[in-house]
Amino acid sequence: MTFNFRYNRIRCISVIILTLAVVLFCGSCKKIDETQSTRLQKETDSWKTIDDAKANLIGMYALMRNALAADNGHWLMGDLRNGDFLSTNRADLQAIIEGRLNASYPVINSITNWRRFYAVVNATTIFIERSPQIVKSDNRYTQANNNVDIAQARALRAFAYFYMVRIWGDVPLLTTTHDGDFIKAPRTSKERVLSFCKTELLAAAQVLPFRYGGTDVILPGAYYGLTTGTDPNWYGTLMTRISVYSLLAHVTAWQQNYLETDIYTKFVLDNYTQLVEPGVTDYNCRYLTINELTLNVRTNETQQVNPFAYKRATQLLGFAFEYGYGYSSANGHIEQLTLASPFVPKVLPEIFVPKDSIRKIFTNPADLRFSIDPQTGLYRENYFTQYGTQRPMFSKIKIIEAVANTSDYAVFSSAVLFTRLEEITLLRAEALAVMGQKEGAVLALNKAAALRGYIPYPDGSTKDLINEIFAERRRELMGEGWRWYDLIRYNRIKRTSGTFITKNGQPLTFAQAESAGAIYWPVSQDVINANPAITQNNFWK
């Protein structure tokens, strides 16, 4: 037998090496392809199970909460401009108060970027487009559940648009996802956007339940496994039929379509008790006493209905920061701006209401929110503390820690509250007053203020009803992000002819300011840089 030893050896070794390589190669190729990230979910793996639906549903709400709370935007945009607050020493806040909205400060640049609302628009739109396919792939996810979820997405999207229209006027209206296609959409007229909002809200209102996880007639039973009896439950967390009607009331009021505002506010006021299970009396939705509103006397009972504390049925539309689940934060709350020592370890608050403004706003000596007892000279501390000092502290809202009124730990848990029962009642008063239904308007106004220690519009009063309603709004909703929008609605109703603002020393009436676009905010340069189809609001050019 001839045996070429050398040849054979090399061949063998080569074969071995090759085989080894191929084996390892294939194994490794597989490893290369199978290594999946554990920190994200691929689009292609999404929208398959009920968990995807829940996670994305919560994601939409989280984005909405972020949009409202980021950089304290809800309050900076709602409470500062031409408002009651003054800045202690922050030049950027002072610029907003004085209406220099194009000043060159990082905070202003950040809050004038509308991207945060469009994230809500995009996420809700994705949800509307994609979630129906889960119904097919996961039979735990029922059609009814999906319908309600989509209705929430539509309501949230409409809310985002409404909120943007109030701030920027004309904004691009996008109703499809354009996934990966970064179109450069131009602005759409505010009228069109608002009518889109209304249509969407009306559609959502047909589907949404009053409450989740209970005996609601529309959606009875557990919702994503949670019922009203479990902890956590859904009270105050999600958009309800009441939320949507409240929003409809506001959209129509903004359109000055008070006829419809009347209808929607009536619906809210007639049905709000359905927000909780029949028989629930502690966590229910009700008109709040001053202690319940301000938590100046902290009891279990006052906390259960305080509309700022965590998630509560009293938040007709609000976005909670749940302390117990690690959502307390420093930024994103009015308290960061208004509180200082002794509530939190800080020398001075960033904004405050000056004393003479307080005296002008709270005129009634019986007002439980703030008033000075003429006999003793003592004042009520429900809204303001340290009234005796140069800068009284606005301490109406102070959700600092689970149990205490004060804390060294300056993180806050107050919700971004859009509306509560008193607010809707006052809106109803406004609507009725505009339509000349004085009796109903007075009734609503007095109802809203019934627990504030006095009657704002007693029988036989000859004061201007509209003025009184807005004065009450100013008192009741101070620090809740309403003042600027109230001023606009008020001036639209009253068609005032005095100086509303000045531009470069030129006085402008409200009508002039409105037509010049001054009632809207400028858009951040970042928005314009990224999309040339967006032009700066003329007033701010």
Binding site: I13, I17, A55, N56, I58, A103, S104, V347, Y409
Partner: protein, 990 residues
Amino acid sequence: MVKVSTSVIYVLFLSVFGIKAASANLVNKHLLVESRLFQQQDTIKKVSKPDTIGEMMKTLVRFNKLRDTLDIFRSKNVPNLSLQQMVKGNLAGVYVQETSGEPGSEQSMIVQGPSGLIFAKKDMYSLQPAVYLNGVPLAQDHPFAYDVQKYDYTRIGPANNLLSQINIDNVSSVVVIKDPFELAKLGPNAANGAIYITTKNAKSGSREISLNSYYGYALQPGVSPTNGAFENNFRKPFYQKYATTANYNTYASYLRDSTNLDYFGKSNWDDRYYQTSPSYTVNLGITGGSERANFRFYGSATQDAGNADKTGLSRYNLSFGLNMAPFKWLTVSSSINAIRLDRDRNRSLRDRFAETQYIPDTSNPLSPNIDNYSSYLAIVDGATDLNRTTGINGNFILSAKFKRLTLTTSLLGDYTEGIRDVFLPSTLLAGISYVSNYFGYNQRLILDNRASYEFDLGSKFHKLKADLGQSFQSDTYKYNYTRGYNGPNDFIKIIQVNGNANSGFDYLNAYGDFYVFRFLDKQRSRLFSFYASGSYKYKNLISVDAILRRDGSSNGQPDSRWLFAPSFSASWSLKHQFLGSSDFIDALDLSAGWGRTMRPFMDDRFAAGPQYTTVNGWTDEPTLPGYGSFIGVARPYTSGYVGYNIPLPVSDRTNITLSSSMLKGRLTAAVTVYNRDDKRQVINLPVAQELGYTTEYKSGLDVNNQGVEFLVTAVPVQSKAGLGWQTGLNLSYNQNRVNALPNGLQELIYQNNKLQVGASAGSYWLYTNQGIYASDAEIPVNPQTGQKMTFNGIALKAGDPRWEDVNQDFRIDQNDKTLVGDRLPKIIGGWSNTLSYKRFDLNFNIFFALGQKAINQYDAARYDFINRESANNITSVREITAWQSFDAARQYPIYNPFSSVVPYREDQDLFLENASYAKLRSVTLGYDFTAMLKNKAKIKRAYLYVSGTNLLTVTSFSGVDPELVNYNGMYDGANITIPKTFVLGFKLDL
């Protein structure tokens, strides 16, 4: 028996290191066959020497005999702590900047210019070269931890410089690899270049012991402390000129009362802040063994101190190397390094608040008085601050040689673990206590197989060698991080939850003793490579090399995970071709190479395409993962949309080198010209905001680096009387350029910077400051509209800066910003000299960086005190070091600090300064005692030296030190200065 033992070795290491059982079995089957064959190798007689560093080093030495290696012999005498410090100024084309003098803190190296963007600290991670320690590419910290951080000053965790584990007394060579072909051999890890370190290896021969030590001090710098009176004087002109009553009402409260001794008393904080502190090291190396089995052991302990704030680093190294040749044809070698780094970090307020992500009221800063400061430090000393890195890396290499065929299997591993435990008592954080625990690791495992064959071409003129190889790399980065706030008291320093599951639904909840936030994250990536290379040599004249490789990365997108990358190189000996008879020239070589390397993504997000992640909060609150009581997911709206069509980036390099050696090696010189294109890089491109995303990750950023490197070493004096002078100079010029942007864009505004095709990626984008408007009348008026000039819509007033209206539209806005200056230097280099006379020798090192600019953010903040102090954010923090004055400080115009145009904004050239510098890095004077001791003991060498480092800086920069500029070009004055250190040391070889 042989069969069994060989396969046992294989099985052992394969199973230990977690190769999947299935493939291991298969491997073993083949190995059994293989080992049977091995038995037949009795004809091989010669013992092959262990070759632990691989063929690559040999080729390197051949190509780059004189170039780009660190002069270990001289460097040993300088008390450098980290690899970056060792190579600083000593390797051509490697730019090292120590942004802080804090020992053991993170440092960066950039080889031949930045391959990408340098706008954020995070960016630096992807520019770092790979560092190989005995062939193991060390896994560095992963920047993904920045995802949960509000501020990017320091990464969470220990943030130790992992390259401070390199111990020069145990190193035999440090080489920077820039040649395209050599880099291609190293593969995708080395896309940014590589630093290849070989430690001293086990070797046969008689037992050798080396003992080295030094002891010395980092000196306390001299500063001029100030108090409130100085600060008041500084502010006075602003208030006199511009302030209204309202402005006076908000005057900084701590400066109001000039009788307050806390702020207006004696300012002498510096005695407690700065200190002279000891640095020392001691290490021992032992080598010994026979030809068939030998070992090396090395152990070292080092203490390195900073000059301020009690900073320091304790380092312990242990390494062990072993070579064995159980059979004449088989060698087994292994080396293991273990390290431990304990770092005492700075105690600055900024770093503390950035870490806690919680900023208490900042309106009353620290008092400059030593009594107050001491009582504050007493509290600080009560805090817990454990900062530890432990790591182990090593290799296990089996090499079998059968005549012309060599088979090598290497298992390389690196595991580094970081621990950081912090507890701050409530007295430090305005009434709340804080605790955080971090555990994280970087793990890398590589299995590398290679066969190389030397062909017999039947002629001694032709040599041909071929390699076939394959390597599999698996990386894992992980951390667990917990922060807790507001504990019950200052004695409970750990987070405890009510762990009893029966006690209610909230037994693991965030509240309880501490308000707790938890973060877990993990990234895995895998890299697989398969390559073939050939090397042909004709006489001494020409050599040609080529490598073809195919690499796959799990971080690539499914349709583009694999990349084919060829590289070539050729070398031509001009000496042997033309100057064979020349006595003057010993060697003259011309070589050229071209190579392509895949540049794998560090992040695993791109592989997934469109995706959903947990919702985060917003910039100020980045860690709110959901809503209500639940976690929510959404598209990555704030971090950036990931789509498809993102191929793996590549790096293409071309090198041409002319090197020569003359006068019997007394003069060597080399010139290299390089061109590098880093193509298809991904950039987070701003997109139309109306789809909810801030940015989209888009492929298409091409960055080009071109440069020239010049290297010369000479021995001008070498007299018989014992006088000698050796000198070495390296000089590199780099030109960085953006070659292309995604979507064919010509320019792009990116995170307050502008990228423009043709301009350097490190350019600043600034307004041009031309003085001041002294009165309203000076402000230009647009003749067409009658409107005064505006700044972003705000009418300018007297006291505002005169910014240049570049486009002359009477509106100063971002269109008037221009690209100026560069963050990185154009020219870097080092000059080293050794003068020797008999047994004395004197060495000094100079290094320089020229052409870079820096923004003096420290001054900007000082002048913008109105906005800074009222902001109550991280920029309003006033450190103890702010209580000092600087002689070189620049004067700026007195603008109206209350103006809403923010006159002292950072994005103008007012604060742009030339940050070029030259430094006398080290001076060493040594004396060799060997001769004196020779008769008394078996001492091979005894050497005593004194060494001083960081002795002198020449610069026009107005800050403390132009090196302390942060990576993004901002000089914030917050970093600890680089100390002057003097040490006395000895080296003893037995």
